[in-house]
Symmetry: C2
Subunit: 275 residues, 2 copies
Amino acid sequence: MELWYTEKQTENFGITAKVKQTLHTEQTEFQRLDMLETEEFGNMLTLDGMVMTTEKDEFVYHEMVAHVPLFTHPNPKHVLVVGGGDGGVLREIVKHPEVEKATLVDIDGKVIEYSKKYLPTISSAFDHSKVEVKVGDGFMHIAESRDAYDVIMVDSTEPVGPAVKLFEKGFYEGISKALKEDGLFIAQTDNPWFKADLIAQVFKDVKEIFPITKLYTANVPTYPSGLWTFTIGSKKYDPLDVPEERFHDIETKYYTKEIHKASFVLPKFVGDIIK
Amino acid sequence: MELWYTEKQTENFGITAKVKQTLHTEQTEFQRLDMLETEEFGNMLTLDGMVMTTEKDEFVYHEMVAHVPLFTHPNPKHVLVVGGGDGGVLREIVKHPEVEKATLVDIDGKVIEYSKKYLPTISSAFDHSKVEVKVGDGFMHIAESRDAYDVIMVDSTEPVGPAVKLFEKGFYEGISKALKEDGLFIAQTDNPWFKADLIAQVFKDVKEIFPITKLYTANVPTYPSGLWTFTIGSKKYDPLDVPEERFHDIETKYYTKEIHKASFVLPKFVGDIIK
């Protein structure tokens, strides 16, 4: 018997991966959670039928979410992750010695629980002394925070289910208030091939709130189109004007200080989306 | 009835695309050729079950094959395309006013015939006055050419079927002889996620022949992993040392002079493959 997981990334296109076994499946309070052991990508977490992360390619997304903003900010002491229940972004954050505290707020404790169980290399920082984990509504946590964070990272699912409100302008206004006066945030903002309208809308909304707004990309094989975008909104620091001495060596598999800069160079059709 | 095309890009991973209809299917002298009308990507050409090109995303590959070497060379008059029977690379080449003649040698006339019929926006340059088309063995054409070309582009299939010998060191030695004394070539060299060994071998072989050898990447959604590599071997001109005034405006959807440079900045794990 052959078992194949197929994700329709659009109505008419998808990826398919051979599955050794289903490790866990559950309808949580918020979403359908599946943990699959795949042949090609190792263990794979899907939520509502969409790949969130896999052991083989997770490093791209997690490194690019964490290191671009953390090297952009000259002294990121307090960091907030909204979502990110697999722990991969946390694992990257604690590599930065400047960070004193990393708070993660994920709405679904089951994601954390099963990531700890089945994605041990990804969820390895949950017990780190700098890490604080809250199971709760990231939107509400942002709304209740004032002048609290140097860097906020929105590591959400696509804008379906519990994540819909994490793509609305009111959320970015809340982020601005939750950030310190020189803070910055990044959010994953889907792909330019199938979701150009979403990227354009988010970029426009963020640009109306933050003086420095930029888009960068990275290649994630298990995400739709393989080309992923991240939107950065910053009150003061420009990700393309980082002093050379700010960068320091860090153990990575995708990110380098050269990739940091090159990731903001957009293919023409991607640049046109945010014009 | 729903018809889906599925390409196993590895034994355990693939893409799947909804098909409106099969426009043509044929076992040619060299390979299995299918032309599909897909919902997501428009018309799609597959050879031996692998996506060669689609109307929606073809511009990335064709622009990056053609413009990076053509802007690297200061005066590319004579250009050879090995493979490339869909005509997309030719269409990009004739945008360069310096080019006096572009010769295309594809082993399979059926690819040209059905690309003309079903991929009109891609195959639009076959009748251009600068274009010469030969149906024949590119390997033999290279072996019989001496000091003939400024730029050679190897737009082949994966190393299966008729393209196997286009990934061997003897072929690159032939290319070196077929190039003028300041010539350069590029070849598509598959993806770093599933074919790292191939990239490493090709890069090593090319580096033993050409003083300047570099790797660059581009995002192609319908190719395995979405991240494609190209290897450039050059006798004299460095793709990262192009004088600013060499670049001129050209109508593109992916390539820009900034992308030209950024495409050589490799993710750490990709750079490690060719170390």
